[in-house]
């Protein structure tokens, strides 16, 4: 690890040490914050007794469904819009403002349409993630170096070969960014939906624990979510760095 990495680690450790100290010494009330060490023991407790397994499984499956549909639909829509510039000019301002509209307000309407199942949550996660995927797909297609297209033409590659050997490798970093954002957004969509109204899932259990002043469980579950999302993000990030290094080596 670099020198800066060590300093960074030191700062993070000091921050959690400070939280632990102010919580233990009673500078903040237990009703507000519990010491980080207790969050960890609570999480270990939750995972070892398996009492939340059902909720964790439900949330993860819902996120996976939202993610897969957002990535595939977003990719196809991005390709189509890239091919149809007039339609794209129509959609561009809407995409630019898309994330300023709070989609959560439509959640109750999805519940009326599809019932209290997991479907409304999948749709919520999908709606939140799909536009990030569309935008990044179009960005990637815009930035294929023209010389590569010419190379394909001089080598008389067919459309399938062009897609496989030229388009896919040169858009890969952008597609990867789209997938990375989709992961984060589908988590946000699903968990926020579970907060608002749901009978099962991690978000529901956090809201339930909050309502019952059960801070131990609440912070344990929060730690689980944040740990999970950070781990996923970090592994995607390091994979991306590896890809980029390979590319720069040629």
């Amino acid at each position: 690890m670099t020198r800066y990495g060590w300093i960074r680690l030191g700062i993070v450790v000091a921050f959690f040490g400070w939280l632990e100290a102010i919580a233990r010494l009673g500078y903040v009330k237990r009703q507000t914050l519990i010491p980080p060490s207790e969050m960890v023991t609570s999480l270990v407790d939750i995972l070892s007794t398996g009492r939340m397994n059902h909720d964790i499984q439900a949330t993860l499956l819902t996120v996976a469904a939202a993610l897969c549909s957002a990535v595939s639909v977003g990719f196809v829509a991005g390709v189509i819009l890239h091919r149809l510039p007039p339609l794209r000019r129509l959609m561009d301002p809407l995409f630019a403002a898309y994330y300023a509209v709070p989609h959560f307000v439509f959640y109750p309407i999805f519940i009326v349409l599809f019932g209290m199942t997991r479907v409304p949550l999948v749709i919520l996660g999908f709606l939140f993630a799909v536009v990030a995927m569309i935008i990044n797909t179009m960005n990637g297609l815009d930035r294929i170096p023209r010389v590569l297209i010419k190379v394909a033409r001089t080598n008389r590659l067919g459309p399938v070969q062009t897609a496989w050997y030229i388009v896919l490798p040169s858009t890969a970093p952008y597609l990867f960014t789209g997938i990375k954002l989709s992961v984060a957004y589908s988590f946000i969509g699903v968990i926020a939906g579970e907060f608002i109204l749901s009978g099962i899932g991690i978000g529901h259990q956090i809201a339930y624990a909050y309502d019952n002043f059960d801070n131990r469980t609440m912070y344990g579950l929060l730690l689980f979510i944040l740990g999970l999302v950070t781990t996923v993000n970090m592994s995607l990030w390091s994979y991306e760095q590896r890809l980029l290094r390979r590319r720069s080596r040629g």
């Binding site: 960074r8 700062i11 507000t32 300023a100 509209v101 709070p102 959560f104 307000v105 946000i188 999302v229």
Partner: protein, 245 residues
């Protein structure tokens, strides 16, 4: 200018056409028609009660925005100007940026209680990080030739800021502000949706609880309209600044 107006008109026409078709497919139980929704919005806007809620949302949002923009700018300038600090803190900022902040809502409520300050805090934590990251990168990637030129011309610190620093970093900072604006709005609205007794988000939640689809769509139309208008204006400014560079 005329092309621009035609473009905006066709975008609006497209949105309303898709909306109307959705209404025909699902019926008023799920999607009220554009005409009904606009009528309902006009009706709501005639009541003084509505403007009280709108003012509340504006108050929460503008305070959150001031914190997000001011704080983000300050953090970005310090971390961008002082290289070691930037190298230490940038990954931390990016990690915080990518965590789902919705999940932190109960924690914010426990710290700030129900009310205005929780909404402000929630809006601000959504917006402050992107502003900081964009400012940091703008300052860091400042062309060193500019700084050397400024030094050889013996510019005073204030001239330095006015003639070099601000013009060179402005486009990136405006991009950061644009994203910060959207996220702060999202954050403060989510705050109102989850737990609040006042504001436009509360109006939506009240409509949700009695399943008043018309009002849900009316308030959402207003919020979306304002958000899209401000965002488009900032995007136009953003693109103009980037072209000038």
């Amino acid at each position: 200018m005329r092309d621009r107006l035609i473009h905006i008109g066709s975008v609006l026409l497209f949105v309303f056409a898709v909306w109307q078709v959705l209404h025909w497919i699902t019926g008023s139980i799920a999607v009220t028609s554009p005409a009904e929704t606009v009528n309902r919005l006009a009706e709501m806007m005639r009541t003084p009660d509505f403007w009280g809620h709108a003012r509340e949302t504006m108050a929460a949002f503008s305070q959150a925005l001031a914190i997000a923009l001011g704080g983000g700018l300050l953090i970005g300038l310090v971390l961008g100007g002082w290289r070691p600090a930037g190298l230490v803190f940038e990954p931390i900022l990016i990690a915080i940026y990518s965590i789902p902040k919705v999940t932190l809502y109960p924690v914010i409520l426990l710290m700030f209680g129900l009310g205005l300050s929780a909404k402000v805090a929630f809006g601000a934590i959504h917006g402050i990080i992107p502003v900081a990251i964009f400012t940091l990168n703008a300052v860091r990637s400042l062309n060193p030739v500019y700084l050397r030129a400024a030094r050889s011309m013996r510019l005073s610190p204030s001239q330095m800021a006015l003639k070099i620093l601000i013009p060179a970093t402005l486009p990136e900072i405006v991009t950061g502000f644009r994203i910060g604006f959207s996220l702060t709005l999202l954050g403060s609205l989510i705050g109102e949706l989850f737990a609040s007794q006042r504001g436009l988000g509360f109006l939506i939640m009240r409509a949700v609880n009695v399943y008043d689809v018309k009002s849900i769509f009316a308030v959402t139309l207003l919020i979306a309209g304002v958000a899209i208008a401000v965002n488009s204006a900032m995007l136009a400014l953003d693109q103009r600044l980037h072209r000038r560079m």
